[in-house]
């Protein structure tokens, strides 16, 4: 069984946010009004976290694209009282909307703040409903949602491979953000396949994981030269 993982090369990332919008388009993520946005209710499964450090003129700005880490040891699933969020057999942290009761325990438990609550039913002007992705359901009011690693693309890739009577190949299944990245800073594949690009990059001396010391075992691996927070650890 593959272990799907993402590698993000921070040395290449330009902070353009193409991944953010590719994700919104792919996953039918509704935009919220400016008033709601001011209350922190913007939904962004993929979000770029900017870090501005230092003082003029020695200022450093870093961008960290942050999808769901799809932790191997996810804190969010442990607190879900209704098994709406769980780690599936392929290592993806799934979110079953009809089961979700909206308690937001998982939202609080996630150290990466990847979980978003639907404060009301998503709203689009009638015209814009025409461009919703038919492969992805829209979410109802009162449930929590998050990045799925574009799980629906995996389903399609599997169906296609099955129809062509072959195994899934590297590149068959790629989330929308990775596909779109203009700088080519994102990679996706099977971490358990030692020959895959992600596995090779994960062995790089530049590799690290966010908040690694929490023991969440995230499957999003970052690459960066120079020092980072905390010790480097191999994925």
């Amino acid at each position: 069984m593959p272990r799907w993982a993402m590698v993000i090369d921070l040395d290449k990332c330009t902070g353009c946010q193409a991944c953010v919008i590719a994700c919104k388009a792919e996953n039918n993520i509704p935009f919220v009004s400016p008033e709601q946005a001011a209350m922190g209710r913007t939904i962004s499964w993929m979000e770029i976290i900017p870090i501005v450090e230092g003082e003029y003129p020695r200022v450093r700005v870093r961008y960290i694209p942050r999808p769901c880490m799809q932790c191997d040891n996810p804190p969010c699933t442990k607190v879900c009282p209704v098994y709406a969020t769980f780690k599936n057999e392929e290592g993806l942290v799934a979110q079953i909307y009809p089961r979700c009761i909206g308690c937001r325990y998982c939202t609080a438990a996630c150290p990466y703040t990847v979980k978003y609550f639907n404060w009301y039913a998503p709203q689009w002007p009638a015209e814009m409903r025409a461009c919703l992705n038919p492969d992805v359901s829209t979410r109802p009011k009162g449930v929590v949602e998050k990045c799925t690693f574009c799980h629906h693309r995996l389903q399609k890739a599997k169906e296609k491979a099955r129809a062509e009577q072959r195994e899934l190949r590297e590149g068959d299944y790629v989330p929308a953000c990775v596909q779109s990245c203009p700088a080519g800073a994102m990679f996706f594949g099977d971490l358990d396949d030692p020959m895959s690009t992600v596995a090779q990059l994960a062995r790089s001396a530049r590799a690290f994981r966010l908040l690694d010391d929490l023991g969440t075992e995230p499957k999003v691996i970052y690459l960066s030269e120079g020092e980072w927070y905390g010790p480097r650890k191999r994925a």
């Binding site: 090369d9 330009t14 193409a18 590719a22 003082e55 003029y56 003129p57």
Partner: protein
């Protein structure tokens, strides 16, 4: 369960198998045919999914698209992997094309004004009626012998639509096909030093040192995806030593943040720094002697035909631009300057890139000359990793126009933006000077204005008075898709399709030096009663008849496109887009002079062109010196003979000595210095004692100069590094803010001699202490529900100042004061 739903036709079953095999149909289809579980299931439409290649026209970057169309609706835009500009990648604006097409604020049909001007009271009319009306009004202009009083403001003057407008103006009889595109002063340097009035490309992928003078390489410059791809490639993919990227800029922009070194510089002094670098190169003999000797003019002192001695660039620089002098002007420390200069000289190929930011100043043209001179000093013109002078796309030439007497008479009139004999400046006036001209009726009354992809009321300073100007013009026609600030003054609105509903050419901007043409094709049927502006031009010409109709032998714009791209089929180089390895192979053959025809007929070529998304010239031919240097000396001119000739001619026409003209133009240099790259002191609107800060309006990739402000996705990500959404902000240095008692998020007044705006302050350490920054693109008063009434437009603060030679608006040369609101 009724019988009909259970019955599976053999054909349907086969279709189903085919669908499963190719993965092209969605599961809804299968359920529809196989399992009539409930009425809801049987009502599911047969989902037909198609992927259609096209080209994104959100900006002028020219990225190839693959549009995913399900049941006639486009549901996703992705990059076309075959397109050499973006290779399957796409920027946030590209993705947000969906919110443009399906935007509820689109103009849905042609409309005619009924209320007073600017009252935004309209009635919808039919297209026939609209074109009749327009033909009648334009016919009157011609009858009155005033065809020249029609002005076309064209926001996309490159490519076939620009050519079609030009042709229309030619046949109609007006010289006024005017660009409403954002100017870039580097063009003036290219004209004066190389005799080429065009923007050049830069082969950044092969450069080892990139010295950017404010160029927003990663914030929307020219082709965002191509630049981001290049950046990623230079950082981690390219083998060998890593390229160094230095950003000289008055703000720590995202581009500066991603550079190896950010050098803050006082606004408007970029030219001085370039000359300081030139000093080190010359003084230490680090310049490319061979190139300078063989291919440049005016480096050393020289004697002209009349035996008169002239000063060379070397002497000027060594006498005037010692690092300590330059440091005092620019605020860049001497050691930084020397270090950068030595790196620039020793890390070949090194390339210096200018920008609108460095040239839209009172001294813009001279800054441009100084920056471009660096490329000649290191001999990096027309070399891999250097400045590339691109070839045009080989469109098939259109048949010549036979214009009638009225048109010929009209074309003889001066252009609205040209200086008359008695005005001092050299260049055509920038867009912002034209509002005033329209109002004052100089050099003639303007009777009609066409607005194509341009919104001058929003995108020029308020001091340009474009709103009043449009109110003043008897006939304003807008081809906009949205009710923007300028369209509000239109008498007639003839809405264009969005780019996902139409045929168009999508040329790649000059960057790689290789001519590349993408084809924009309709991926969905037009949603509303809109019409391709190209078709409108053709219909209008037909309706007006005579030589005007004869000039347009095409039925619709698609025919124009097909006629023109035949040129790409007929030239014996290039190829329809293909896989990178195939393209590399064919390029190698073609570089060695081999040519293998790919298609046996134009029809086959066209079919493949549309299927793959475009055509590329594949390679850049180096060493065409005769083409690259079209100057009097046929060399790169440090000493611009063209500038000298133009200035002297103007002085002569005005019957004054050159000295007096320079005085009037406020040029401080005298003698030979005038025609050499030199630093003219930057001038600013607003007295420093009263207005202590420089205002730096800056571009943000996702706002696209304001045209994407009505896309909610863009509003959600606009101010990433300062955590602002759906609003403008003022970037201010933390210590400056503290002195003024301003905390992060406070409302402040920003006031210039020309206006004031209220905006929230954000403390950003990437701000220079004497500069404040406001993004360009928000502060709409119209343009849709999400754009209107959000944030501020920094153009409300900017004055009408222009470059000394006249061609460039001084958009970055205004001072402001800040006070807590």
């Amino acid at each position: 369960m009724d019988e009909t739903t259970l019955k599976i036709e053999r054909r349907d079953f086969l279709k189903l198998l085919a669908g499963a095999a190719s993965g092209m149909m969605l599961s809804g289809y299968a359920f529809n045919k196989l399992a009539p579980v409930s009425q809801a299931y049987t009502d599911w439409p047969e989902r037909i999914e198609r992927w259609i290649p096209s080209v994104c026209l959100q900006c002028s970057g020219g990225c190839g698209l693959m549009a995913r169309v399900v049941d006639g609706n486009v549901v996703k835009l992705e990059g076309n992997p075959l397109h050499p500009v973006n290779r399957g990648r796409l920027c946030p604006l590209g993705h947000a094309g969906l919110q443009l097409v399906y935007n509820p604020d689109r103009i849905k049909m042609p409309m005619k004004r009924v209320g007073r001007k600017g009252s935004t009271q309209w009635v919808s009319i039919s297209w026939d009626e609209a074109i009749d009306l327009l033909a009648e009004r334009l016919g009157e202009l011609r009858e009155r012998g005033q065809p020249h009083s029609l002005i076309v403001f064209d926001g996309r003057p490159t490519g076939l639509m620009g050519a079609l407008w030009e042709r229309f103006c030619h046949a109609f009889g007006t010289p006024n096909h005017l660009s409403a595109d954002e100017p870039d002063g580097m063009r003036i340097a290219h004209r004066l030093m190389q005799g080429l009035d065009q923007l050049f490309g830069y082969d950044l992928e092969n450069a080892n040192y990139i010295l950017s003078f404010g160029c927003q390489l990663l914030d929307g410059w020219r082709s965002p995806v191509q630049l981001a791809r290049t950046y990623g490639y230079l950082r981690q993919e390219r083998p060998g030593p890593r390229a160094k990227f230095v950003q000289i800029e008055r703000r720590l922009s995202p581009t500066a943040a991603r550079s190896d070194e950010w050098i803050p510089i006082r606004p408007g002094t970029e030219g001085a720094l370039a000359l300081g670098i030139a000093y080190v190169l010359i003084r230490e003999e680090l310049y490319d002697r061979q190139f300078v000797e063989q291919h440049t003019f005016g480096f050393d002192d020289w004697t002209d035909a009349r035996g008169q001695r002239h000063k060379g660039f070397r002497r000027l620089v060594l006498e005037t631009y010692r690092p300590e002098n330059v440091s005092a002007i620019t605020g860049v420390p001497v050691d930084t300057l020397i270090r950068i200069a030595k790196q620039f000289a020793s890390t070949r190929p090194a390339v210096a890139i200018g920008s609108a930011e460095a040239t839209l100043h009172s001294n813009g043209a001279f800054n441009a000359l100084a920056i471009h001179a660096l490329n000649a000093l290191v001999g990096n013109i027309d070399l891999p990793g250097g400045v590339l002078i691109g070839e045009e796309i080989p469109f098939k030439r259109w048949p010549p126009i036979k214009s009638d007497a009225v048109a010929q008479e009209g074309r003889r009139r001066p252009r609205l933006d040209r200086a008359e004999a008695d005005a001092p400046w050299l260049d055509a006036l920038p867009l912002e000077a034209l509002g005033e001209r329209i109002l004052s009726g100089t050099p003639y009354e303007v009777q009609a204005v066409f607005l194509y992809e341009s919104n001058p009321v929003f995108s020029t300073p308020a001091t340009a008075r474009f709103a009043e100007a449009l109110e003043h013009v008897p006939l304003v026609v807008s081809f906009a898709s949205f009710m923007d600030e300028s369209t509000a003054y239109a008498d007639l609105i003839l809405p264009d399709h969005t780019y996902l509903e139409k045929w168009q050419d999508g040329p790649a901007p000059p960057l790689s030096g290789v001519p590349t043409l993408g084809v924009t094709q309709p991926v969905i049927q037009p949603l509303y009663e809109t019409k391709h502006t190209g078709d409108v031009i053709l219909a209008l010409a037909r309706r007006m008849g005579g030589t005007l109709a004869d000039a347009f032998p095409w039925a619709d714009f698609k025919e124009v496109l097909m006629f023109s791209v035949r040129g790409c089929y007929e030239v014996r180089y290039g190829r329809v887009f293909s896989e990178p390895f195939e393209g590399a192979f064919v390029r190698q053959l073609q570089e060695r002079g081999w040519w293998i025809p790919q298609f046996s007929s134009f029809e086959a070529f066209w079919k493949d062109l549309v299927k793959k998304g475009g055509w590329s010239g594949l390679f850049h031919e180096y060493g065409k010196w005769g083409h690259i240097f079209q100057t009097p000396s046929r060399k790169f001119e440090f000493y611009s003979q063209r500038l000298k000739a133009e200035l002297e001619a103007r002085a002569k026409r005005r019957g004054q000595p050159l000295e007096a003209l320079l005085e009037e133009l406020n040029i401080t240099a005298r003698g030979d210095d005038v025609f050499l790259p030199h630093y003219e002191p930057a001038q600013f609107a607003g007295d420093e004692s009263k207005y202590p800060f420089h205002l730096n309006p800056f571009h943000v990739l996702v706002l696209n100069s304001g045209s994407s402000a009505n896309l909610p996705w863009m509003q959600e990500i606009v101010g990433l590094h300062v955590h602002v959404k759906w609003d403008s902000w003022l970037e201010i240095h933390p210590e400056t803010a503290q002195k003024l008692g301003i905390a992060d998020g406070d409302w402040v007044w920003v006031e210039s001699p020309y206006g004031k705006v209220r905006v929230r302050a954000k403390l950003y350490p990437g701000t220079m202490p004497e500069v404040v920054n406001i993004p360009i693109g928000l502060g709409h008063t119209a343009s849709g529900r999400w754009a209107s009434g959000r944030g501020v437009n920094p153009y409300a603060l900017i004055g009408p100042a222009a470059d000394r030679l006249g061609g460039l608006p001084a958009r970055y040369a205004t001072r402001v004061k800040i006070s807590k609101a």
